[in-house]
Structures are given as C-alpha cells and as structure tokens.
C-alpha cells in the first residue's frame, strides 16, 4: 500500500490497527461479558411494558458501544470520547480552529463520537477505524443473535 511508504506516523497507525480477527475476538468477548452483566441486572422474563422494553434495548445498545470502546481502549480519540460519555465526564471540547466545515465534514463530526474536537485529517482517520469497529460489532451481534436462536436457520 502506498500509504505505508508515507510518513512513519501513518505506518504506525496502520500497524496499530488490528487485523479483523483479533479485533473481532476482543469485541466479542467484551460484548458477551457486558451482555451477561445486563442479564443479571434485568428481569429474566421478557418485560411486559413498553417502557421497560425500550430501556432494555437502550441498555443493550449502550452495552454494545461501551464494549466496543473499552475493547479499543483509550488509543483512539473516538473511543476516548465514548468512554467519557459513558462515565459521564465532561466532554473535552477543544476546537482547534475548526476547519471541518471547509471540507464538508460538518456532518461527519456529528456522527463520529468526539468528532468535533479534531481536525479534518485525524477525523478521517478516526472515521476509518470507527467504521472498522462498527462493522465488526455488527457482525458479532448478528452471529450471537443467530446462534442463540434455536429455531430454523436464518439468513
């Protein structure tokens, strides 16, 4: 890849990024642990009311993101931002002369966690890694879902 021959920082980034297998394993283990924790917290039988269900879904989703962030660790800006959000600390909002809007990245910085306190270059980097982790997380959740269903096979 040409990017490997570029500045050494980029090379370091590429080497720091996990190949999908290890990443998936790590994500899976964390996510399962989080789900177990949730199960003990919640009522085992399916809750009746809608509000409870909503709460459960939100909890599962939060568990998914939290496990993702903790699996990646504080190495990435977006994971740091996510962890900050989970722990309820103050958002570290340092706007370095925000040049995001120049390249049309204004929507991207809203979507990627912690996207506002970054310049365009690192924002794109973070987005790439975020996409990778999201894809892995979705795959894991799907596989868990499909394996847990004891009935007929699902696509």
């Amino acid at each position: 890849m040409s990017s490997l021959s570029q500045n050494p920082k980029k090379t370091l980034l590429f080497s720091a990024m996990k190949n999908p297998n290890t990443l998936k394993k790590k994500l899976a283990s964390r996510f399962l642990k989080a789900m177990k924790k949730l199960k003990y917290k919640m009522s085992p039988s399916p809750p009746a009311s809608i509000a409870e269900k909503k709460r459960r879904h939100r909890a599962v989703r939060a568990a998914a993101y939290a496990s993702m962030a903790s699996a990646v660790g504080p190495r990435r800006a977006w994971s740091r931002a996510l962890l900050r959000k989970m722990k309820g600390r103050k958002r570290a909002r340092r706007n370095p002369g925000n040049m995001n809007t120049r390249f049309g990245l204004n929507h991207l910085c809203d979507i990627v966690p912690g996207g506002e306190a970054m310049d365009s270059c690192s924002l794109l980097n973070e987005t790439a890694h975020y996409i990778k982790c999201l894809v892995a997380q979705v795959q894991i959740m799907r596989e868990i879902l499909h394996s847990s269903s004891s009935s007929s096979t699902i696509l």
Binding site: S2, S3, Q6, N7, K10, M35, P46, I50, K53, K54, R56, H57, R58, V60, R61, A63, A64, Y65, F103, G104, L105, H107, L108, I111, V112, S120, C121, L124, N125, T127, A128, Y130, I131, K132, L134, V135, Q137, V138, M141, R142, I144, L145, H146, S149, S151, S152, T153, I154, L155
Partner: protein, 373 residues
C-alpha cells in the same frame, strides 16, 4: 574587460583568492548596470549551478592551461558560493565565467606563453563552454531549447561582457520561463511560501485518508470528494442503525419490536383473514415485517419467529393452505418477493396483504401457530 590579476597556478587558495578578487571587481563594476535579479533568474541559476558538480570531472580531466584552471577554480568557487547563498553573487560569477570563457580566446593569444597554444586553449575554451553546456543540459527540461539558446549565446561570444550578461540573463530568463515545470515550481514554492507547502502536505494527507476510507466503505464510486464524503456519512449512519436494530431484536425477537406496532395500527386495514390474530395485529405485523425486511433480513425473521410465524414461498403456502384448511381466502396478489431469498430449510410464511403495502414484497395469508418446516 580585463581582470586585474590572473595567476596560472594550480587550483588552490591563491587562485580562489584571485577569483574572489575578480568577483568583487566584477561585482562593483557590473552591479549598477545590468543586473536584473528576477526570481526566475535566481532559481534558474541555482539549479544550473547546483548541477555544476557533474561538470567538475571534465574540468579536472582536461589538461589545464591557465585559463581553464581558473575556469575550474571559478567553477568550484561558484559551487562553494552556492552553499553560501546569494544568487546575485552566483549570477555575477556566472557572468564572470561566461565572459572569461568567451573572452579567453582573445586573452589566450596574448597572455599565455607556454605550451598552451591557441589550439589547446581553444579546446579548453570549447571544453569550458561544453561544461557550461553540460550544466545547462543536466537540468530537466527542454534540452533542445537550451541548446539553441546556448548556441545563440555562443554566437554572441565575441561581444562585450555586458551583452553577454544580457544574453545570459535572457537565456536564463527564457530557460526558466520555458521550463516552468515541476522542479522550478516546487523550488519556488519552497523558497517563497512555507504556508503553501504545509497546505499541500495537508491536502495530500487528507486525500490519502480518503482513499483508505474508500476501501472500507462498500460503495466506492470515486467520483469526487463530496459525494464520497456523503457516502461515508451514510454508511456510518447505516452501521449505527444496524447496531440499534440488532440491539432491539437481541432480546427475545418480536417482543422487541412490538413497541412499534401501536404506531402502525392506524395504518393497518382490517383484513378478512380468518386466523387467530386480530386484524390490526396482522396488518401491523405486515408493516413491521416489511419494514424490517428492507433493512435487516435477520431481524425480520427474528421478529416473525417471536410471533410464532415464519416465511415461506407462496406456492408452498397455498398448497398447504388448500390442503389443510378450507376457510382460507384465495390469494389476491401473487408475488413471492418475501420468499425469494429463502433457503430450502427456511419455511416462508405469507401474510395476506392489502394494497396498503405498496412495495414489491407482498405477503400472503398469515398462518398462525407452529411453524412448518
């Protein structure tokens, strides 16, 4: 233009000093008159003189009569002065050299007494000219252009030094202007504007990252940056939505999606289906399944499973229905959109649809109860 002192010695400090003196003399003489320091000249000269080292070997190789010795010394001096700095000095040195190179045939006849006859001096002269020619041609760009200019320069060799310097200036100007290709432009950028370099670096880096992002995102049209950015944003949103849906359907299938059913019930029309579920439930289920089928096949199946339903090809459903039950309504729309992707092991169920679902997936009779496999 006669230099005050010319010592035909081996290249050493003394010759360098002499050249220095001559340089200063020239400097004083020439400075007010014809010096024309445009930036193109400077760049051109820098380039030219930076590639002077290749011409050194020949300068050393040729048996040096006094003039060529001084030439080589002057060349070396010039080269040393390059690392020092001022382009003015370089240009003047060059003028000195050119003038000496072209005037030396005249001088040689007069001054040099020893074996350096005009014959040997001339080839030395020509050699010096060729050396400068090498300097010219060593640079990237239009060699033919330079050779023409140089021949023109050579043709005007017998003129005065001022004309020579003028020709040299013209040559360098033409050369620089004609050669404003990458190297000169890069040099100029470096020389003048560090900000633009930083900008360019930054832009390159961003383009790199965009390329790596393109590989991640499935739809890599590569048309332009803006559409690519939109694609990336949509993909990230899609992934986040997937996480959301998956987290909803994680816990016990259809019960997870039931909260959405009350929203759809006003849309659901009462269907004349005769089965256990109430009509609104069926319509809501239809809506729900159709919606889920669009975004996530797995969650749609899960939803149905939670309800105790499944998907099956319409043909099979009709066959079973006609075989088993008798109070089924005949199917109105025959479209097996939902049953298309089903594998043989997957049983497809049909929910009787109404025209409310204007999508290509139309579901048939709802078969409540145990799934058929």
């Amino acid at each position: 233009m006669r230099e005050p002192s010319r010592e035909p010695e081996s290249p050493g400090l003394t010759s360098i000093n002499s050249v220095m003196n001559q340089h200063q003399f020239l400097h004083e003489m020439l400075q007010p008159s014809n010096f024309d320091p445009t930036s193109s000249h400077e760049d051109f000269l820098e380039q030219m003189l930076s590639s002077v080292p290749p011409s050194f070997p020949w300068a050393d190789d040729h048996p040096p009569p006094g003039n060529s010795e001084d030439h080589s010394a002057a060349l070396r001096m010039r080269h040393q002065q390059i690392s020092g700095g001022a382009a003015k000095a370089l240009m003047l040195q060059q003028q000195l050299l050119l003038s000496r190179g072209f005037a030396s045939p005249m001088h040689d006849h007069n001054d040099v007494v020893d074996s350096s006859s005009p014959n040997s001096a001339n080839p030395a002269n020509d050699a010096s000219i060729k050396g400068l020619f090498n300097v010219f041609t060593g640079l990237p760009g239009q060699n033919s252009n330079q050779s023409q200019q140089f021949h023109h320069l050579q043709g005007g060799a017998m003129q005065q030094s001022q004309n020579l310097s003028g020709a040299a200036a013209a040559t360098s100007g033409d050369g620089a202007a004609g050669r404003s290709k990458q190297k000169v432009r890069a040099r100029r950028g470096q020389a003048t504007d560090p900000h633009s370099i930083a900008e360019r670096l930054r832009r390159e880096r961003i383009a790199e990252r965009m390329k790596s992002l393109q590989e991640l995102v499935p739809n890599a049209n590569k048309t332009d940056k803006a559409s690519m950015l939109d694609e990336i944003i949509d993909y990230v949103k899609f992934l986040q939505l997937q996480v959301k849906v998956l987290s909803m359907s994680r816990l016990g299938g259809a019960a997870a999606v039931a909260p959405l059913a009350p929203d759809k019930s006003p849309e659901g029309r009462p269907t004349p289906a005769s089965n256990n579920n109430n009509k609104e439930g069926i319509a809501a289920t239809e809506q729900q399944v159709a919606k889920l089928l669009e975004e996530d096949m797995g969650s749609a199946m899960q939803y149905l499973q939670g309800k105790g339903l499944c998907l099956m090809p319409i043909s099979l459903a009709t066959a079973i229905s006609t075989a088993t039950s008798h109070s089924r309504n005949p199917p109105s729309n025959r479209e097996a959109g939902g049953g298309g992707p089903s594998s043989p092991s997957t049983s497809v169920m049909t929910v009787q649809s109404s025209a409310t679902i204007g999508r290509n997936i139309s579901l048939k009779d709802a078969i409540a109860g145990p799934k058929l496999e």
